[in-house]
């Protein structure tokens, strides 16, 4: 490419670290920004948990954020709730899973010098960054940040304060970012695979990123369309989502009417259900890499996992209305979406089962990355299985919008996806920095996180089954049915704050090891895939490999009988 900087001449500081077009620098930019947002989203949640455990009591240390009394008002609670969801999903987990790990390791694992479109890659990061800034600006406009939930259901969102408009503009930027990113990922995987790297020789991580990119590419535009319609409603007084005769504060709203709040829900969930698989698929990809590497065995059922994940991606487009059983859309439609929802659980179970069977008879290396990957398996299992009663229309009537739902999807995303992302950090840190992380600190991080994260989410199932609604800003204090399970609020909140403290060893470990960690070898874990076997740690700027490798075998050839060592690199002829 003619505009491509040549590796021999020195690049300026700005070109090298800020407006870089090297996929590795962009991956790190994504990673660092996303980790900061994850921590920020976590802080929002820790504040909410104070309000839930000790409703209407002044918050210690941070009370000044809520004015003189130090008490969080319901409006503020709603803002924190909406922004916690938005920040965690769109600014934290997806950018870390797709933007950081995908960007950094897809080209390396397929033996490519960079992503297919380096400048598009840079634009994608800066759209994400701008989207994040716009979202943060929301906190400072009159009325505070968006407060209609991360789902932004109208009519509430249509008549909400200015923060909602800011949220919509932020979303448009974030959608643009992931659109550019997904085009880049798919093109890279299709076009830039090294010689001999056929589809069934791709590491499963690459497959997971491939399916994820398709979900982002095709599911996000309808949300963008919905966002445009909601902006029209808010700025040009149209009534896409406002039915005729809507009464707000005792007066009939002066709009043409004729719209439908259900329309938003359909368009929103058409994105937001595939989004769930955007959250989980890259996590499964990372876990697959870590598992096979540390069991020193091939991944069991590689092809089944590949086919299952592709089927999962396809099915995720036709299950969205299981979020809407309670809207009165009719039992025929409910029956359809209930059926598809039961069907989509099959490939998830196939993948998880294959991963469990991979452990059979292995001599497992229990390092920090492996601990997190092993933690992922039962945690995602709990998250997935508790989803079944929500996918059945009849049982959903009782569970809908209770803490049970919160428990369910947090098990999928927090001890599920985020644990897998931690596994990815521990597994790939030596490759990205050339330094090793401290294993003891990593194990402390794992065990404390494991205990406290269950302390937060397990009681939610109990509260939810008791019928406690997820929308109560006082944690159920004013709700008669909640009385018996109210004491759990303090357990959950204490666990949440302790989980916050449990991240200190992780943050310390990252910074300390980056500065003065032991030097890592280029194939630190004795792995088989190209990023370990053929690239130095860290890989060369702008071209990754000294010589572009050729591939002769599948991704997980560990402990091959008769081989001279217990791993056979993909690039070994």
């Amino acid at each position: 490419m003619s505009g491509q900087p040549d590796t021999h001449h020195e690049e300026s500081f700005w070109r090298k670290y800020i407006f870089s077009i090297d996929h590795k620098v962009i991956g790190l930019q994504y990673g660092i920004t996303a980790l900061i947002f994850l921590f920020f989203g976590f802080c929002l949640m820790m504040m909410m948990r104070w309000q839930l455990a000790y409703p209407e009591q002044p918050m210690p240390w941070f009370g000044w954020l809520f004015g003189e009394t130090g008490v969080m008002l319901p409006e503020m609670y709603n803002s924190l709730g909406a922004m916690h969801g938005t920040v965690m999903i769109f600014l934290g987990v997806v950018p870390l899973a797709v933007g950081a790990f995908g960007n950094y390791f897809v080209p390396l694992q397929i033996g490519a010098p960079d992503m297919a479109f380096p400048k598009v890659n840079m634009t994608s990061y800066w759209c994400y960054f701008a989207g994040g800034i716009v979202m943060m600006v929301g906190f400072f406009v009159p009325g505070g940040a968006a407060n209609s939930g991360w789902t932004s259901y109208p009519p509430l969102a249509d008549i909400a304060t200015t923060g909602q408009t800011v949220w919509l503009f932020g979303m448009v930027l974030l959608i643009t970012s992931s659109l550019l990113g997904s085009i880049n990922t798919i093109t890279t995987i299709v076009q830039l695979r090294a010689k001999g790297l056929t589809w069934m020789r791709l590491p499963f991580f690459v497959w997971s990123q491939f399916v994820t990119a398709f979900l982002l590419l095709l599911a996000f535009p309808p949300l963008e369309a919905a966002g445009v319609l909601q902006l029209m409603d808010r700025l040009l007084d149209t009534s896409f989502f406002l039915p005729s005769g809507l009464i707000v504060s005792g007066e009939v709203l002066n709009v043409s009417g004729g719209g439908s709040p259900l329309l938003w829900q359909h368009m929103f969930w058409f994105l937001a259900h595939p989004e769930v698989y955007v959250l989980i698929l890259p996590a499964m990809g990372i876990v697959a890499e870590v598992l096979s590497n540390n069991t020193r065995k091939p991944l069991w059922g590689y092809k089944s996992i590949v086919y299952a994940s592709s089927f999962l991606g396809f099915m995720s487009f036709i299950v969205w209305a299981h979020h809407m059983f309670m809207t009165g859309m009719g039992s025929t439609i409910s029956a359809f979406f209930q059926t598809t929802t039961m069907i989509i659980s099959v490939p998830s179970v196939v993948i998880l089962t294959a991963m469990f069977i991979s452990l059979w008879g292995a001599s497992i290396r229990y390092n920090s990355a492996m601990l997190f990957a092993l933690g992922f398996l039962p945690m995602f299992g709990i998250g997935g299985l508790t989803g079944l009663p929500l996918g059945i229309a009849a049982s959903d009537i009782h569970l809908h919008d209770t803490y049970y739902v919160i428990g369910h999807f947090h098990y999928v995303v927090a001890p599920g996806t985020i644990f897998a992302l931690f596994a990815g950090v521990y597994y790939w840190f030596p490759k990205m920095t050339g330094k090793t992380l401290n294993e003891t600190l990593g194990k402390i991080h794992f065990w404390l996180s494991m205990i406290f994260i269950n302390g937060i989410f397990m009681p939610m199932f109990v509260q939810g089954l008791a019928g406690v609604s997820r929308r109560l800003w006082d944690g159920g204090a004013s709700y008669a049915h909640a009385t018996d399970t109210l004491w759990l609020n303090e357990v959950m909140s204490a666990s949440a704050w302790l989980l916050g403290l449990a991240q200190i060893p992780f943050i310390y470990n990252l910074i300390k090891s980056m500065k003065s960690g032991e030097k890592a070898e280029s194939n630190h874990w004795d792995a088989t895939t190209l990023e370990w076997t053929d690239a130095p740690s860290p890989p060369l700027p702008h071209r990754n490999f000294e010589v572009i490798p050729e591939v002769y075998r599948g991704p997980y050839e560990y402990s091959v009988p008769g081989a001279d060592k217990d791993f056979t690199p993909q690039s070994e002829a």
């Binding site: 491509q4 010098p113 369309a225 040009l236 043409s256």
Partner: protein
């Protein structure tokens, strides 16, 4: 290091990178407009007061028919410009690409008159859900036209130097712009009957 398959095709996929890229982009565009067309269907199904029928009758069908012809012609000149480039006839290429730009301009001018006529009659997006979706769909389509015009202008004037320095790559780029342009044209082919005729 050069990124492979930027200009030449990869043998097993039969594509250069940007061609796959643009098709993926267009797939996402299909989902964008698909979402909006679905919204149209959804709103029309719930339209008990008949605003969709009465609204459509206030639109100017002759002007829209003219605009349809203009856009189709622009697609023809677009492909002619690419063919000329393939044949190495650079002068013809410039004429055809310039005509495409001109026709796009004509489309916008006609659309401008259509819009202002509506405003003079007191018709705005807030008038009814029909006009809300009409202005949203045509407005978004116009943004796509304007985006395409910016790119076409770039290749016509400031970016045309590449024609001589890297001619194969330049031809690829024009092909990609053409694919985008045909898509924008195609969206209008759907918009015209859905909004004006149904």
């Amino acid at each position: 290091m050069e990124i492979p398959y930027n200009v030449e095709e990869r043998q097993d996929t039969g594509m250069f990178n940007a061609k796959l890229g643009i098709w993926l982009f267009l797939a996402s565009e299909v989902m964008l407009f698909g979402g909006l067309f679905s919204a149209y269907v959804f709103l029309r199904m719930g339209d008990v007061t008949g605003t969709f029928i009465s609204g459509a009758s206030e639109l100017n069908i002759p002007l829209a028919t003219f605009n349809t012809l203009v856009l189709i012609s622009s697609s023809v000149t677009m492909i002619m410009s690419w063919v000329s480039l393939k044949l190495g006839e650079q002068k013809k290429f410039k004429t055809y690409l310039g005509t495409t730009l001109l026709l796009a301009g004509v489309f916008l001018v006609v659309k401008y008159f259509e819009y202002t006529a509506k405003f003079h009659h007191g018709i705005f997006p807030e008038t009814s859900t029909f006009f809300a979706i009409y202005f949203t769909l045509t407005g978004l389509h116009m943004l796509h036209i304007i985006g395409g015009m910016v790119v076409i202008f770039y290749f016509l004037v400031p970016g045309s130097k590449m024609m001589n320095t890297e001619s194969e790559r330049f031809t690829n780029r024009i092909e990609i712009v053409g694919l985008y342009w045909h898509f924008v044209d195609l969206v209008w082919i759907f918009l015209f009957p859905v909004l004006y005729l149904l």
